[in-house]
C-alpha cells in the first residue's frame, strides 16, 4: 500500500493554490456565519435537552412512580422524546451545520442561498419542537425513530432539501474541482435523508402499508437514519479533522474510496435484527451484510490510523473529541459484526445492549464528532482564537467522553446481565429486570456527566457571544477583530 495522499487533489492540510479571484477564508466563513450559529447553537441546546430527557427516562427505571401522575412525562413518552431531541434536534442539525462549514472551506466558495439555509434552520427547529410537543401530548406515531405525526415530516424534508440544494450549489461552484473524501460523505447524507424520510413517512404515516410489512419499513428507516444520514456527516467531520489537526495529509485516497463505497453499499442493509414477525431471509441477509461491513470499516480505520501514525499533533479538545469519535466508529462496526452472529444476536435480543449500541452511535460517533467540529468552528466564526474559558472546554470534553463511556458501558453490562437471565426460562422475568439495575445506574450517572458537559459548553458559548456583542458595540467587526485566529 503506497501513500497517495501527496497527489490527492484536495486535502485539509495541503490546500491547492487557488485563483486570485477566490474568496478569502474569512470571507468564506463570514458568508456562512449566521446559518452556522443558528444550526450549531440550536443543536447543542437540543443535545442538552435530549441528554436531560435521557437521564429522566432511565431514572424512572429505578423510581417508576416518579412523575407518574403527569401523562406527558411517563416513560413511554420521554423515551421517544429523548431520541427526537438527540437524532433530529442534535445529530442531523449539527451534521448539516458541519457539512455547510466543511463544504464552504473545502470548496473555497461562499455559501449559496444563505437566506434559504437560515429559513431551513428555523423550519427545522420548529419541526423538532412540534415533534417533541406531539409526542409529549400523546400524538406519537408509534414507530421508533419516526415518532412524529405525518404532518411534521414535510417540514423536515423541506428543510433538508433546501439545505441540500444550498450545499450542492456551493459544491458546484467550487474553486478547486477535485472533491475531498468529506464531500463524498456529505453528498451521501444530504441525498439519503430526504429519500428515506419521504418514502418511510409516506408509507408509514400518510398512506400506511398493511401492518404485516410496517415493521420491515420501520426497521429499514431506523437503520438508515443512523448509518447513512448521521454517520456519514460524522465521517465527513472525522476525515476532515484528522489530517487537519495532525497536519499530515490523508494516508490513502484509494483506501478512502474503498471505505466509502463499501460503507454506502453495505450499511443500508443492517438493522433487521428482530427475530420474529419479519421474513427470516431479511434477518439472515442483514446479518451477512453487517458482517461484510468490517471490510469498509477496516479500510476507514486503517486510513485514519496510518494518517495518525508518527504525527505529534498539538493537544486540543477538538482533537480529543475527533479521536474519540473515530474510535467509537470502529468499535460500533466491530460490535455490529459481533451482534450479527446468530448466537450472540439471540442472546442479546431485546436487552439493554441495544441501548448500548444506539448510544455508541449517537453519542460516541455522532455527538463526539459534531461537538469536536462545533468546538473548532464557533470561536473562529466570531473571530476568536479560542474559547473564553479553557477550563470549561476541558470539563465539556471530560463530561462528553466520560459520560458516553459510562452510558455505553452501563447499558452493555445491563444488557449482558439481562441476556443471561432471559436465556434461562427457569429464571423469572422479573429477575432479568432486577439484574439490569447496576448497569442502568452506571448509565444514569453517565447521563449526568454528559448533561453537565453540555452545560459547560453552553456557558462557554454564552460568554463567547457576550464578548462578541460587546466587541461589536465597541465598533470593530467580528471576523477581522483578532488577527491571531488560527485558520
Amino acid at each position: 500500500m503506497t501513500s497517495t495522499a501527496t497527489t490527492a487533489p484536495v486535502s485539509p492540510v495541503h490546500a491547492p493554490e487557488v485563483r486570485s479571484a477566490a474568496p478569502s477564508v474569512a470571507e468564506v466563513e463570514a458568508s456562512a456565519a449566521l446559518p452556522l450559529f443558528l444550526l450549531l447553537v440550536s443543536a447543542v441546546k437540543w443535545l442538552f435537552l435530549g441528554s436531560f430527557f435521557g437521564w429522566l427516562t432511565f431514572v424512572k427505571l429505578h423510581l417508576p412512580a416518579l412523575l407518574s401522575g403527569t401523562p406527558a412525562l411517563t416513560y413511554g413518552r420521554t423515551e421517544p422524546v429523548m431520541w427526537i431531541c438527540l437524532l433530529y434536534g442534535f445529530c442531523l442539525q449539527a451534521g448539516f451545520g458541519a457539512a455547510i462549514w466543511l463544504t464552504c472551506r473545502l470548496s473555497r466558495s461562499l455559501l449559496y442561498n444563505r437566506s434559504l439555509v437560515i429559513l431551513s434552520a428555523v423550519l427545522w427547529n420548529i419541526a423538532v419542537l412540534a415533534a417533541v410537543i406531539a409526542v409529549l401530548s400523546g400524538n406519537s406515531s408509534g414507530f421508533p425513530r419516526l415518532e412524529f405525526p405525518g404532518t411534521i415530516a414535510p417540514l423536515f424534508i423541506a428543510s433538508a432539501v433546501l439545505i441540500g440544494i444550498s450545499i450542492l450549489q456551493t459544491l458546484h461552484n467550487r474553486v478547486e474541482r477535485a472533491l475531498y473524501v468529506s464531500s463524498w460523505f456529505i453528498f451521501a447524507a444530504i441525498c439519503w435523508f430526504p429519500w428515506i424520510l419521504s418514502t418511510s413517512s409516506y408509507f408509514l404515516l400518510v398512506n400506511p402499508l398493511r401492518g404485516s410489512v410496517q415493521p420491515v419499513l420501520n426497521l429499514w428507516y431506523a437503520n438508515n437514519l443512523t448509518t447513512l444520514c448521521i454517520a456519514p456527516f460524522a465521517l465527513a467531520v472525522i476525515f476532515y479533522f484528522i489530517p487537519k489537526l495532525t497536519e499530515r495529509p490523508l494516508y490513502s485516497r484509494s483506501l478512502a474510496v474503498l471505505g466509502f463505497w463499501g460503507y454506502v453499499l453495505l450499511a443500508s442493509w443492517g438493522g433487521f435484527d428482530l427475530s420474529a414477525g419479519i421474513p427470516r431471509w431479511l434477518v439472515s441477509v442483514s446479518a451477512v451484510m453487517t458482517i461484510f461491513l468490517i471490510v469498509p470499516g477496516l479500510a476507514i480505520g486503517l486510513n485514519w490510523r496510518a494518517t495518525f501514525s508518527g504525527a505529534n499533533p498539538r493537544k486540543s479538545v477538538e482533537l480529543g473529541l475527533i479521536k474519540f469519535a473515530a474510535g467509537a466508529f470502529i468499535l460500533s462496526i466491530l460490535a455490529g459484526v459481533l451482534t450479527a452472529l446468530p448466537a450472540v444476536r439471540n442472546f442479546v435480543a431485546y436487552t439493554h445492549l441495544g441501548y448500548a449500541l444506539a448510544y455508541l452511535g449517537t453519542f460516541g460517533v455522532g455527538a463526539a464528532a459534531f461537538l469536536g467540529a462545533t468546538h473548532h468552528i464557533l470561536p473562529r466564526l466570531l473571530g476568536e482564537a479560542d474559547w473564553p474559558s479553557v477550563r470549561l472546554s476541558k470539563w465539556h470534553y471530560l463530561g462528553t467522553t466520560v459520560g458516553t463511556a459510562l452510558i455505553v458501558g452501563g447499558f452493555a453490562i445491563a444488557g449482558l446481565m439481562q441476556g443471561t437471565a432471559l436465556a434461562d426460562a427457569s429464571v423469572p422475568f422479573i429477575t432479568s429486570v432486577k439484574r439490569t439495575s447496576p448497569g442502568v445506574g452506571i448509565a444514569i450517572l453517565g447521563f449526568l456527566f454528559f448533561s453537565a458537559g453540555q452545560v459547560m459548553l453552553l456557558l462557554n458559548i454564552s460568554t463567547l457571544f457576550w464578548r462578541c456583542c460587546a466587541s461589536c458595540c465597541c465598533g470593530s467587526g467580528p471576523v477581522s477583530r483578532n488577527s491571531e485566529v488560527r485558520r
Partner: protein, 235 residues
C-alpha cells in the same frame, strides 16, 4: 470521484438497490397478505380487532407501551420465549395484518405481550396492574398510570368496577374506577391472542380424527384449535 453526477448516480444506485430489496420485495411478499382460513376448523385468523380494542391500541400507542414491551414470540431455537409460556408458536408477519401502527417493540423491560390476553384473562387483574403495577407484581419497574383512572367518593355501596388497590389505595371513603381510556386499553390487551396455528406455523401435533375416548390421549394438546375467534374482546 471528482464528478458530482458520477457520485450521484452511484449513490442513487446504492439507494435503489437497498429500496428495491428491503422495501419493495418484502412489500410484494407480505404486503398483500390476507387472513388465513384453517382448513380443518374453518377458523379465520387474524380478525380485525373490535372497535373498543382499536381505541385501546391508540392508548397503547400514545403512552409508548412498546418502548418496554415486545409483541413477538421467538422460535425455540432463538430464545426461551415459548418455554416461558409467552406463546404456543412463533410470531409471524400475518399477526400484525390489521394493526396500524404495528408495534412489535424492540426492548423487553417488561414481558412480551403477544399473548397477554390469553395468559391473563381477568380484566380486573389488568386494571389493578395498570393503576399500580406493584399491587400485582412486587418489584416491577413499570410506571403506574393513575391518570387512566378516576378517584370517586365511595357511595352507599362500592362501585362494582372499583379497582383492587392493595396498599396503594386512595384513602378512606374513596375508590378508584377505570376511565374509558383504561377500559379500552384493557380491551386491547385482552385482544392480544396470537395463538392460532396458521399456514406459516402449522400445528406440530394436529388433532387426530379418532375420538379421544378411544385413544385415551389428549387430542392436539393445546387450546388453539377449539378457541373462539381470537381477537374478540373479552368483556
Amino acid at each position: 470521484m471528482n464528478h458530482g453526477p458520477f457520485l450521484f448516480l452511484g449513490l442513487f444506485a446504492a439507494f435503489a438497490w437497498s429500496w428495491f430489496s428491503l422495501v419493495l420485495k418484502p412489500q410484494k411478499e407480505i404486503g398483500s397478505l390476507e387472513p388465513d382460513k384453517n382448513a380443518v376448523t374453518g377458523e379465520v385468523y387474524p380478525l380485525n380487532r373490535a372497535g373498543a380494542a382499536q381505541q385501546g391500541r391508540e392508548i397503547y400507542r400514545a403512552n409508548g407501551c412498546a418502548a418496554c414491551h415486545t409483541q413477538q414470540v421467538r422460535a425455540r431455537e432463538s430464545g426461551s420465549d415459548m418455554d416461558r409460556g409467552w406463546g404456543i408458536r412463533p410470531t409471524v408477519s400475518r399477526d400484525f395484518l390489521f394493526d396500524n401502527p404495528a408495534m412489535p417493540g424492540t426492548f423487553r423491560i417488561g414481558p412480551d405481550l403477544a399473548n397477554v390476553g390469553d395468559r391473563q384473562r381477568d380484566p380486573k387483574w389488568h386494571f389493578s396492574h395498570l393503576y399500580n403495577p406493584r399491587i400485582k407484581s412486587p418489584g416491577s419497574s413499570m410506571p403506574p398510570y393513575p391518570y387512566l383512572f378516576e378517584k370517586h367518593k365511595t357511595g352507599v355501596s362500592p362501585s362494582p368496577d372499583a379497582v383492587e388497590t392493595g396498599t396503594y389505595g386512595p384513602g378512606e371513603g374513596y375508590e378508584i374506577v377505570p376511565s374509558d381510556a383504561a377500559r379500552a386499553l384493557v380491551d386491547y390487551m385482552m385482544s392480544l391472542r396470537a395463538n392460532s396455528y396458521i399456514f406459516e406455523v402449522p400445528n406440530p401435533n394436529p388433532p387426530t380424527n379418532a375420538p379421544a375416548a378411544d385413544t385415551n390421549a389428549p387430542a392436539g394438546g393445546t387450546n388453539n384449535t377449539t378457541a373462539p375467534a381470537t381477537n374478540a374482546p373479552t368483556k
